[in-house]
């Protein structure tokens, strides 16, 4: 517990910053309740019509389902790839580990717009060969999202491996366990929490991804962020406000649950 506490000036400044951080999240609530078809503040009566249009308009529902499918596939792919890679690094500690990990982390460091151009190049090149995999296909988007999420999954799994006691693996090895048995029956059960977190984070990152998605989709693979983007650029549709309110509530609930779980974990 720090004994050197912030003074009144620090507290006032921090409150101002906190208000600045929360303001845009709160501003969407009144806008989502406006009865008008345009982006305005409600002037008297409130309406839930924009929430209803989220359910009734098939475009929103289609894009939500597509984003779910892409998120699940890309999260599965990036978690499996990150897991095998990290197991290789941890179990065998090969030479050039630092360089290999650095290479894997590149998509996290390179400006997203450059990754977007790169994946655009890839998918338009592949499009000539295959019609269901390439530019503007859901499989193409899922693969591109995996490229973007795999560094984050790898970091999370490597961090949870670094907290694992090497002696349990040595014991298993001494008792004659094969590489496969050590990985699946000794190591993976111990980093379960890290693997699940990696999968969840990959899903969330894919679900929200827009920078790359804009470059690799046009009319067929309209993910939820892509649809929001279109609504934001053309005429600003208050349905986006309703959707934003729902997304903010879900985020706050998930964060609250996570903090309950992590508070309980050390005790368990």
């Amino acid at each position: 517990m720090p004994t050197y506490r912030p003074g009144p000036v620090s507290l006032i400044l921090a409150v101002l910053v906190a208000l600045f951080l929360l303001m845009p999240l709160l501003a969407v609530i009144p806008v989502s309740l406006t009865p008008s078809r345009m982006l305005t503040m409600p002037t008297g009566e409130l309406s839930l019509r924009h929430y209803r249009s989220l359910i009734e308009d098939p475009r929103w529902l289609d894009s939500i389902l597509l984003s779910l499918r892409i998120g699940i596939v890309s999260s599965a792919l990036s978690t499996v790839l990150a897991l095998t890679f990290s197991l290789g690094v941890w179990m065998f500690q090969p030479r050039f580990t630092a360089a290999l990990v650095g290479f894997v982390l590149l998509p996290m460091v390179v400006p997203p717009v450059v990754s977007a151009v790169t994946l655009y190049f890839l998918l338009t090149s592949v499009s000539g060969i295959s019609s269901f995999f390439g530019y503007d296909t859901w499989l193409g988007v899922a693969m591109a999202h995996s490229v973007m999420t795999v560094p984050f999954a790898t970091v999370l799994i490597l961090v949870s491996l670094s907290q694992l006691d090497r002696r349990i693996d040595l014991a298993a090895r001494g008792l004659g366990a094969s590489v496969w048995e050590r990985a699946t029956r000794v190591i993976m059960p111990n980093i379960k929490f890290g693997i699940v977190t990696a999968a969840l984070l990959s899903f969330v990152l894919s679900w929200e991804e827009i920078g790359v998605t804009l470059f690799i989709t046009s009319v067929n693979a309209i993910t939820l962020p892509r649809l929001m983007w279109m609504g934001l650029r053309d005429n600003i549709d208050p349905a986006i406000a309703a959707l934003s309110v729902i997304l903010i509530i879900i985020t706050v609930l998930v964060l609250a649950m996570r903090s309950v779980i992590t508070r309980r974990r050390p005790a368990a």
């Binding site: 921090a14 906190a18 969407v28 806008v31 890679f85 690094v89 790169t118 890839l122 693969m143």
Partner: protein, 277 residues
């Protein structure tokens, strides 16, 4: 001997899928982009020459650097203020500060940009309120210009600026601060002459991360700038989709990577990666 051979095989087998995936899906196509920058529309260094001479490209580069610099100063300052309370406040203050930092952090860039549109647009919250109290008669133009871009980008980047600062503030020896106070130094003086210098590595790390992120930022400037204050990333998008000028888009991408790479190298000279989280 047999052990080491099978060890090498095992490592190779486990590491190969991801490495292969990234070589095929990322490294190889990036080389393709580099190739575009030298061959489209005609082979040669034409696109790089254009980068140095084209007025539009130059003005976008300068605007990007200017906005990135302002956003860096705003974000690091604001992040510093809230991190002080997050790291050194009372338990209640710490929970509240954490909530205000982490909730926006997890909310998507589009939702946050939209929130700023709802606040800043002509019929948005701020203009409606200022008009209703009679402070202004005409709505202020707060969005679809550089002001909106700077506000939106700073909002996005403050949480990223917080993490290196928090790690620097957590690791400092608070007995030095107590000693300064005990020797009669005022709060302000202790802050400026002891606390801030002791968190220098965090400030450098935080500023470089914010600056690097700002350079490649796409969504927020595109929405809150409304096409009027285009930054590099949006210029790349426009070159590839609006004008099909793939060569120039690719050349700007290559320059951006080289520039960011140089900044990252600088970052790691001053700050160890461990200090960033």
């Amino acid at each position: 001997m047999r052990g080491t051979l099978s060890d090498r095989m095992g490592a190779a087998l486990l590491m190969a899928p991801l490495l292969l995936f990234l070589v095929l899906a990322y490294a190889w196509p990036f080389l393709g982009v580099v190739k575009w920058s030298f061959t489209l529309p005609s082979p040669g260094l034409g696109q790089y020459h254009a980068l140095l001479t084209d007025d539009l490209v130059q003005s976008v580069f300068i605007r990007t650097l200017r906005i990135a610099a302002i956003v860096t100063v705003v974000s690091v300052t604001a992040a510093y203020a809230i991190t002080v309370v997050w790291v050194r406040g009372s338990p209640v203050q710490r929970v509240l500060a954490e909530f205000c930092i982490l909730v926006p952090f997890w909310i998507s860039v589009l939702t946050r940009a939209f929130g700023w549109v709802a606040l800043l647009s002509n019929r948005g919250l701020i203009n409606t309120w200022l008009q209703s109290i009679g402070f202004i008669s005409e709505p202020l133009t707060l969005v679809r210009n550089e002001f909106g871009v700077i506000v939106g980008m700073s909002h996005f980047l403050i949480p990223f600026a917080v993490f290196p600062l928090a790690s620097a503030m957590r690791s400092l020896d608070e007995r030095v601060l107590l000693a300064a106070r005990g020797l009669g130094s005022s709060r302000m003086r202790t802050f400026w002459t002891v606390f801030v210098p002791m968190t220098r590595s965090g400030i450098i790390g935080s500023a470089l991360i914010t600056f690097v992120f700002s350079l490649g930022f796409f969504v927020t400037p595109a929405i809150l700038g409304g096409g009027r204050s285009v930054m590099i990333a949006e210029l790349i998008y426009l070159r590839i989709f609006q004008s099909p000028d793939w060569g120039l888009g690719a050349a700007i991408s290559v320059v951006l990577v080289v520039f960011v790479g140089a900044l990252m190298a600088l970052l790691f000279r001053y700050v160890k990666p461990r200090q960033l989280v």
